[in-house]
């Protein structure tokens, strides 16, 4: 029982509620396929609702605890809601709900399989967010990893199969490394893996070499999910191959599960102090910087829209890692907040890409001339998010970058600011051409033809448009009213206050 925690069964509900969707798929009559899908959505909406209901308590500083099973002394499977875990759960429950809604009209075949695994992954991810210790985290994390495989290869094209194969290879290797990391932590760290303290290991309990081994195996294990170069290989293949809502979740949430794992390792297991003492934050920061720059450079060369977005995600997730590795208050705050911010922006971008794909069948940016006139709402939302990604105020992207920059100054390392600026520049270099192609190029523009009329008729699919517009609005709203309770700042600042007392 963690200190000061309230014993409560509430954390169990968000983990179990997605199973309603699964039951709906299994038990509902075959005659009402639509109803089944709506029940799936109801399951995800209910999950989100329950998570929201926990907000006041969490903002009050309460923590909740629920024990599922205790395997042996010191090794238990239990749920624990602290601010950081709750923050991640809130983000992912929201994303999950929107993606489910979007999928209802996006997915056109094998609904059952897709929605079943969508729900399963949702449940497991919430389990990840609410894990009390690394052992529980690993259990949910592995199930989530393999549960998302059917989402990636859903289209069953050759490309999807190949991407799925690559994903599995990376996932299995990463899972193995992580497994070793946890065992090493359990053994050399004195048999504790719990998250409730801010720094569990110390040089008194374990030798330096052991701690370094544990740290780097953790980073390598989670780094595959968090797409730290050179472990990112699966990301650019998996995103374009997966259906758009699945790519949105991959980028928005599943990559973040890796980043969240790194947060748990850095904040809870090692603690900022120990990390500094070991000097490992340098290594992580260097890898994160390389990833940020290289991913943007790679993104420049991609013509496939989702592939470009995927590379962008690789770079953006490393913002989070860089924020953590700065070991400064604002840096950590920016990193933690960027988890939610990037999820909002990138999910919206991927959902827009999905709308484009469904309505026009176009995948490549070079084919998208004048698409802003065919799909105006979508492309406006896309532009909003793309601008936010570059860090234009007023948007969530600006907040993240501002905080990260300020964190770099706090840490006394302006070089990180340079990296951030270079990255923003590169972001602009690969996002602006898309906006330009969409709005300022059209068929026959070189011969002086007038631009086509705005045509709203194609965007008649509300189930797909609602999530897109909602996300784009949130990108602005969260970026303007930053401190509203329940928005990322309110939770992330609490976390950072605990990490840097």
């Amino acid at each position: 029982m963690p200190e000061g925690a309230t014993k409560s069964v509430v954390p169990l509900f968000p983990v179990l509620l997605p199973w309603i969707s699964l039951l709906a798929i299994l038990l509902m009559p075959r005659k009402a396929p639509r109803l089944r899908l709506w029940l799936c959505f109801a399951g995800s909406a209910l999950t989100f609702l329950v998570v929201i209901l926990m907000l006041p308590g969490v903002l009050d500083g309460k923590t909740y605890y629920f024990k599922l099973a205790s395997i042996v002394e010191g090794l238990e499977i239990s749920l624990y809601v602290d601010t950081l875990g709750y923050y991640f759960a809130l983000v992912l429950a929201f994303m999950w709900m929107l993606a489910t809604l979007y999928s209802i009209s996006y997915i056109d075949h094998k609904h059952n399989r897709f929605f079943a695994f969508l729900a399963l992954c949702g449940s497991f991810l919430i389990g990840c967010a609410f894990s009390r210790n690394m052992f529980t985290y690993f259990i949910f994390y592995e199930m989530m990893t393999f549960g998302s495989y059917p989402l990636i290869i859903h289209e069953e094209t050759t490309m999807a199969r190949r991407a799925g194969y690559k994903y599995l290879v990376y996932a299995i290797a990463a899972g193995t490394v992580l497994f070793f990391a946890i065992i090493a932590n359990y053994f050399w760290g004195g048999g504790v893996l719990n998250f409730e303290k801010w720094g569990l290991l110390s040089l008194e309990t374990a030798s330096r070499a052991a701690l370094l081994t544990i740290f780097f195996t953790y980073i390598a294990g989670f780094g595959v999910k968090a797409a730290i170069m050179p472990l990112h290989g699966w990301v650019p293949d998996a995103h374009p191959a997966a259906p758009s809502p699945a790519s949105a979740l991959l980028s928005g949430v599943i990559l973040k599960a890796g980043a969240f794992g790194i947060m748990r390792v850095i904040f809870n297991l090692f603690g900022i102090g120990l990390m500094k003492e070991l000097g490992v934050h340098w290594v992580v920061a260097v890898f994160a910087c390389i990833t940020i720059v290289m991913a943007s450079v790679f993104a420049l060369t991609q013509d496939n829209l989702k592939r470009r977005l995927a590379y962008s995600s690789i770079g953006q997730v490393s913002y989070i890692i860089l924020g953590l590795a700065m070991v400064s208050r604002d840096g950590a705050l920016g990193g933690v907040m960027h988890l939610a911010h990037h999820a909002l922006m990138k999910a919206c971008l991927f959902l827009c890409a999905g709308v484009i794909l469904v309505k026009t069948g176009k995948k490549n940016i070079s084919e998208m001339r004048g698409i802003g006139y065919q799909l105006p709402v979508t492309m406006i939302c896309f532009s909003v998010c793309a601008l936010a990604m570059m860090g234009t105020p007023p948007s969530v992207g600006f907040i993240s970058k501002w905080l990260l920059g300020s964190g770099a100054m706090q840490a006394g390392l302006p070089v990180y600011v340079v990296i951030l600026l270079v990255s923003s520049l590169l972001n602009a270099a690969y996002f602006l051409p898309i906006i330009y192609t969409a709005f300022f190029r059209w068929e026959g523009d070189e011969e002086g033809a007038h631009h086509p009329k705005l045509d709203f008729s194609a965007e008649n699919d509300r189930l797909m448009m609602v999530p897109v517009v909602l996300l784009a609005l949130l990108v602005l709203v969260v970026g303007i009213w930053v401190t509203v309770p329940g928005f990322p700042y309110s939770l992330a600042s609490r976390v950072v206050n605990l990490v840097f007392p």
Binding site: A69, V72, P150, L168, G175, F179, F180, I183, Y186
Partner: protein, 496 residues
């Protein structure tokens, strides 16, 4: 333990034996009743075992004197928690495989031999139950021989040429190894003058015949390595396990070899004990090295197989390496991992073989590439396979994960990180060969006409045991906390 309860262990063992003896009469009266009556004997035996639950102290053991003779003169059963646990595992898996046989075996075995099949089956289960709890080393040999003879016969039971050849190969490696066990026992007896394990444990530390002890342990380990098919003495296994009828493969692969591997642990810990490891430690080191080689060799060979059952058989070789690496870590965690691995390996491997049996029964398919698209016609079998494969790989929350955790942890704790890494590589190899099949079944379109579009799975009588096993992998993963505490204590007391 008092009263009637103290007779329970021996009753668990003798009941199936009695059943085996009675089966010809049952068959004479009513041939269709044979499977049910044999199952009944195992059920009763299992229920008696359940009555014992909670009566075995986790850190001690319950002795039973056969015929009331005082040990060390009489034969003694020593039921410690690990032995009891394995006895229940044997009983449960045997029961499910037996129930599965009812429909399956009439396809492969001609009418007159069906009774013989059940007789041998019951003998096999009874001998394995005795094998894991006996407290007398010569009795161990006797149970091992009953086990071996019934396995040879059961491999050959279909009577077709490949089966007879595989059985003969098995016998040619098995029989000399049995003789070596007897030789090892003889050497041990000549050095100590007793056959009772507890007595031996007390005397091996004192005896002056160090060389004889070393020779005896080496001979015993070598002999049981053949029985447990530990690389490089595994040659008989792939043929025997893939050619035997599927429920029999489940027994052989899931239980027989694993129980034999456990016997090495039993001899090392209950007979030679911690005090003599200084003397026999080299053999244990060599054994661990062989185990590590087995993990890698079995896994790699499994990847290259084209025959489905052959692949599972090679996977068994790999998993025997796991068990060996577990108990040679010589700490409670490693031993617990090994015992728990006997359980989850038994369940998962049995389930895989029963799934293979379902495919053979319905479609006659044995090749892996024929399984492409199997999901459309046989979804239940495919799901059961996926769940069991989950455990073979050791992914959470299956039982395989728990045992993998303890195996790796035990090895890290014993300062054997390279072996821990070997175990992890073994899991990766398992992932490769299991995911390939899962991928074929669920995500690959089948060849034209290979599978129908409508669901036509194996009959319920076969699906039920298959599913019981695949759910058991989950059960023993999720509810592992019910057993692990006691197992750890039992392991610690074995190593004390």
């Amino acid at each position: 333990m008092s009263g009637a309860f103290k007779h329970l262990p021996i009753m668990m063992i003798t009941l199936p034996m009695l059943g085996a003896a009675l089966m010809p009469f049952v068959s004479y009266l009513r041939r269709e009743a044979v499977p049910w009556v044999s199952a009944l004997f195992l059920v009763v035996s299992g229920v008696l075992g359940l009555l014992l639950a909670g009566r075995i102290p986790p850190d001690g053991c319950v002795g039973y004197r056969l015929g009331g003779w005082e040990p060390p003169f009489g034969i003694e059963l020593k039921v410690d928690f690990a032995g009891y646990f394995l006895m229940m595992v044997v009983c449960g898996i045997s029961l499910l495989a037996l129930l599965y046989s009812r429909l399956y075996i009439i396809r492969e075995v001609e009418g007159g031999k069906i009774t013989a099949y059940y007789v041998l089956f019951l003998l096999l289960s009874a001998s394995m139950m005795g094998f894991v709890v006996t407290g007398d080393i010569f009795n161990l040999f006797v149970f091992m021989e009953i086990l071996a003879i019934s396995s040879y016969a059961l491999v050959a039971v279909t009577g077709n040429r490949n089966a007879v050849r595989a059985a003969f190969k098995y016998l040619l490696m098995g029989a000399p190894s049995s003789i070596m066990v007897l030789l090892g026992i003889g050497l041990l007896y000549s050095a100590t003058g007793t056959l009772n394990m507890a007595d031996l444990a007390a005397r091996v530390g004192e005896t002056g015949y160090r060389e004889v002890l070393i020779a005896s342990f080496a001979v015993l380990v070598l002999a049981f390595m053949v029985k447990a098919a530990i690389f490089p003495l595994h040659l008989w296994l792939p043929d025997a396990h893939s050619i035997a009828p599927s429920p029999m493969s489940a027994m052989l692969s899931g239980l027989v070899v694993a129980v034999s591997a456990f016997a090495i642990a039993r001899i090392a810990f209950s007979v030679f004990t911690v005090h003599s490891w200084g003397v026999v430690g080299t053999t244990l080191d060599a054994l661990a090295a062989a185990g590590a080689a087995a993990v890698l060799f079995g896994g790699i060979m499994a990847i290259y197989q084209r025959d489905f059952k052959m692949m599972i058989a090679y996977s068994t070789i790999s998993h025997m390496g796991y068990i060996v690496l577990g108990f040679t870590a010589l700490n409670p965690e490693g031993l617990t991992g090994a015992v728990y691995h006997v359980l989850d390996h038994g369940i998962a491997k049995a389930c895989l073989f029963l799934c293979a049996g379902n495919f053979i029964y319905r479609k006659g398919y044995r090749r892996i590439d024929q399984l492409k698209g199997a999901w459309r016609e046989m979804p239940w079998t495919c799901f059961a396979f996926a769940l069991a494969a989950w455990s073979v790989i050791g992914l959470p929350p299956s039982a395989g994960f728990i045992s993998k955790w303890y195996l790796v942890y035990g090895n890290v704790k014993a300062d054997r990180v390279p072996y821990a890494v070997v175990l992890l590589i073994g899991a990766i190899l398992a992932a490769v060969y299991c995911f390939r099949i899962i991928y074929y079944m669920f995500f690959q379109p089948g060849e034209e006409g290979a599978w129908r579009d409508q669901v036509m799975d194996a009959p319920a009588g076969m699906l039920a045991p298959t599913w019981a096993l695949s759910l058991a992998t989950l059960f023993f993963g999720v509810f592992s906390y019910l057993f692990l505490d006691s197992l750890l204590k039992a392991a610690a007391s074995l190593l004390a």
